[in-house]
């Protein structure tokens, strides 16, 4: 047991941190998110050239064979700058489903482009009535001749507007909330019957409502076995929770440290705000919650890397704590920044927004506490 990074991991962490430092000032980020497509194509190319898009894929698929630890290091550094390039959507989510369940021929066709950054993926798993339940799927896939016909609407699909392909969950059999009977398909974003209603989310990212009307897909676009997609769905969701939690931990570090810095500069009543004990104690609480989140992130990530039987439960614990502590830290960062915290001029508000969205993605704090206690 140890918490040291290997030299390769250290190198990765250093280079991602350098990328964020060089490219992600608040002004630079706002310039990116203010215009379509909501990310910087040159950054995406750089990220591809640095090899980060290849991280989690097997060497046989042209990847680096990295695991949860490598993704954690990358996402934590991304979180410090609130990086908006669609790494989560294309690599962790879409790519995660592909590498777990797509037939070799399909991976051979799609993954090289995903890894070199010329193709992007999105992952449509949520539906309006489902709230946070992955198994609640009413989108249907009806077998028809050599393929399937899909009908339904997938909600808040991140990066669907720029994705070339979207992985969607659809029901091939069973009742609305059955785990059995869910199948995953790779559809072309521009296929006939795919309608995208694109919009920004509060954190500056992009999402879409993806409406599927008699969308025809071939059997060769099936990811995993017919009716057995739930296992892949859940594994991808777990990866997403680990990645989002790492991003959140990076963002929390900025939030509490910015608050400590700001309150030491800002003078009121003839003193720097940081000298007031009531504020000091609040900042200590923010720091403690950050450290606890980091500890649980390590635990969940290392248990996942090990394939431990406890990993699923620890992931629920992690998402609960990240949601609860992340919003606690963000609310207090804004409070301690006073009126300035409410403006778009300082970083904290932007981190607050991202923290809100992270809590709502893949199940919020309450949802995961219930799952944890189940």
């Amino acid at each position: 047991m140890n918490f040291d990074l290997s030299s390769e991991q250290q190198l990765l962490q250093d280079s991602v941190q350098r990328f964020v430092k060089d490219n992600y000032s608040l002004e630079a980020r706002i310039a990116i998110t203010d215009v379509e497509p909501g990310f910087n194509k040159a950054h995406w190319k750089t990220i591809a050239e640095l090899g980060w898009l290849a991280l989690p894929f097997a060497e046989a698929d042209g990847g680096f064979g990295g695991g949860p630890i490598e993704t954690m290091l990358l996402m934590e550094a991304f979180g410090k700058g609130l990086v908006v390039e669609p790494y989560l959507a294309s690599i962790v989510l879409g790519g995660g489903a592909m590498r777990r369940g797509a037939p070799k021929a399909l991976n051979d066709m799609i993954l090289p482009g995903v890894i070199d950054g010329t193709r992007q993926l999105a992952f449509g798993y949520a539906e309006e009535q489902a709230r946070f339940d992955l198994e609640d799927v009413v989108t249907t896939a009806r077998a028809d001749g050599t393929g399937f016909v899909l009908n339904g609407t997938k909600s808040v699909v991140q990066n669907a507007a720029t994705a070339d392909h979207i992985v969607v969950s659809a029901r091939t059999s069973g009742g609305q909330a059955d785990r059995d009977g869910i199948s995953l398909f790779l559809i072309d974003a521009k296929a006939e019957g795919v309608e995208r209603d694109n919009y920004p989310t509060v954190d500056g990212l992009r999402a879409s409502e993806v409406k599927l009307t008699n969308v025809r897909v071939g059997r060769d676009r099936l990811i995993g076995e017919v009716g057995k997609g739930f296992g892949i769905l859940q594994a991808v969701a777990n990866d997403a929770i680990l990645a989002l939690s790492a991003e959140a931990v990076g963002a929390m570090e900025i939030l509490y440290k910015d608050t400590v810095d700001y309150t030491q500069q800002r003078q009121q009543f003839g003193h720097p705000l940081a000298e007031f004990q009531v504020l000091q104690h609040r900042m200590v609480e923010m720091f403690m919650e950050y450290e606890q989140c980091k500890s649980l992130l390590f635990r969940a990530t290392l248990e996942s890397a090990q394939g431990a039987a406890t990993a699923q439960r620890t992931i629920h614990a992690l998402k609960h704590l990240i949601g609860k502590a992340g919003i606690f830290i963000a609310e207090n960062a804004v409070q301690l920044h006073g009126g300035m915290g409410m403006t778009e001029e300082l970083r904290v508000g932007h981190y607050f927004k991202r923290m809100l969205v992270i809590d709502a993605q893949f199940g919020n704090a309450d949802h995961h506490l219930q799952q944890f206690a189940a």
Binding site: Q277, A305, A317, L369
Partner: protein, 388 residues
């Protein structure tokens, strides 16, 4: 980064389990004889009687992983009763600041648990603000003997102690932290009066200690005169880490879940009550995180020799968790928790409120939570202390 146990670690775990099983107490036998034999046998394993001591002083020199394994394995085993004052608190000070003569004189008895120590820090006028302590030690003209006068309070186990390690004031001029001197003296002597203090839970663990004209030879002084604060401060960090009580909380939480699961509610148990269940779950999440905070802290300590910033949060979070468990135990016991020393109701509920009341001391002793936060703000966040 990994949490795999190496073959050596697994062998160590087997060794620990075997040792604990082989040397478990057999009910009905002489407890004190077993206790002293247990420590002898643990010593023969290569310092298992003093797991946290460094190798140079006879400790086992374990890796962080081995410490973690020891904690896990001993959490559920009934170890012999032990007080932290000698082995855990005075010994590190002797190792760091005591003379060779003092180490040779005191450490064997500490290690063998032959001498019981107590800690004379707090005073009626010096609680969280420890540096304001007033117990006076005056050096005789020939420079050979101190005369000590004053009152110590909240002195745990003073009524069972043979010796006390005591912070005294030798100077009133200059910075108040610089006039404090660290002295050792016997408790069983004229001039020392121990008065019990009964706390809210009904138990007698702490005392008031009056010290009147007690003579202490200068060779019982640790380090230099006026430097006692520095010596004591270094130790507090370790004491506070120890007070987190993570292993104990893990066991207590399991017990709580088992008990709540045995309480019938409708078709299920109290654990099916959503409100109760959510509180238990949130508590468990915090404890799971704190377990890894401790591991990170151990790893940092073994790499750099010093405790990492993570360690500063352990006393705060750990004691809060202990109190939450005590409170949920009261909730689980319902009205039977109100019983005061009389065996009625479900067994676990007995004295529930008394236990919870006792737990309220956890966030007061060893540096109140508010003082801990001041310390973290200053030492970890780097904020200079100022206006309150």
């Amino acid at each position: 980064m990994d949490i795999d146990l190496s073959a050596d670690d697994l062998a160590f775990r087997t060794d620990v389990r075997e040792f604990l099983t082989r040397n478990a107490y057999k009910p009905g036998t002489d407890y004190m004889a077993w206790r002293s034999e247990w420590f002898t046998k643990a010593a023969a394993k290569g310092g298992w009687d003093v797991p946290k001591w460094p190798k140079a002083f006879g400790g086992p020199g374990w890796t962080p992983t081995q410490h973690y394994i020891w904690e896990q394995e001993t959490a559920t085993a009934a170890l012999p009763f032990d007080m932290p004052f000698g082995v855990g608190m005075l010994a590190p000070i002797l190792m760091g600041y005591g003379s060779k003569e003092q180490q040779e004189r005191f450490m064997p008895d500490i290690r063998a648990r032959r001498i019981n120590w107590c800690q004379g820090y707090s005073e009626p006028g010096a609680g969280s603000d420890l540096a304001s302590l007033k117990t006076k030690a005056e050096l005789s003209a020939d420079g050979k003997t101190y005369t000590v006068n004053g009152t110590k309070i909240w002195t745990t186990a003073a009524h069972m102690a043979d010796w006390i390690f005591c912070l005294t004031r030798t100077s009133d001029t200059g910075k108040r932290q610089e006039g404090i001197t660290f002295l050792l003296f016997p408790m069983k002597q004229p001039g020392i009066e121990v008065k019990p203090i009964i706390t809210l839970g009904g138990s007698h663990t702490v005392n008031m200690v009056h010290i009147t004209n007690v003579k202490v030879p200068v060779e019982n002084r640790i380090g230099e005169e006026g430097q006692g604060w520095t010596y004591a401060k270094g130790l507090l960090q370790h004491e506070r880490t120890g007070l987190a009580g993570i292993s104990r909380s893990l066991v207590a939480l399991e017990k709580l879940k088992e008990q709540a699961g045995s309480i019938k509610r409708g078709n299920g148990s109290l654990m099916d009550d959503p409100a109760f269940r959510a509180k238990v779950a949130a508590l468990e999440v915090d404890l799971m995180a704190l377990e890894f905070t401790e591991l990170r802290s151990l790893a940092a300590a073994s790499a750099g020799g010093a405790l990492g910033p993570e360690s500063s949060i352990m006393k705060l979070k750990g004691t809060e968790i202990q109190q939450r468990i005590a409170k949920l135990t009261v909730e689980a016991g319902g009205i039977y928790s109100a019983g005061w020393g009389h065996p009625v109701g479900p067994k676990f509920a007995r004295n529930g409120m008394a236990g919870y009341l006792s737990s309220r001391a956890y966030t007061i002793y060893g540096g109140a939570s508010e003082v801990q936060k001041d310390v973290i703000a200053k030492n970890v966040l780097g904020i200079k202390s100022g206006k309150k």
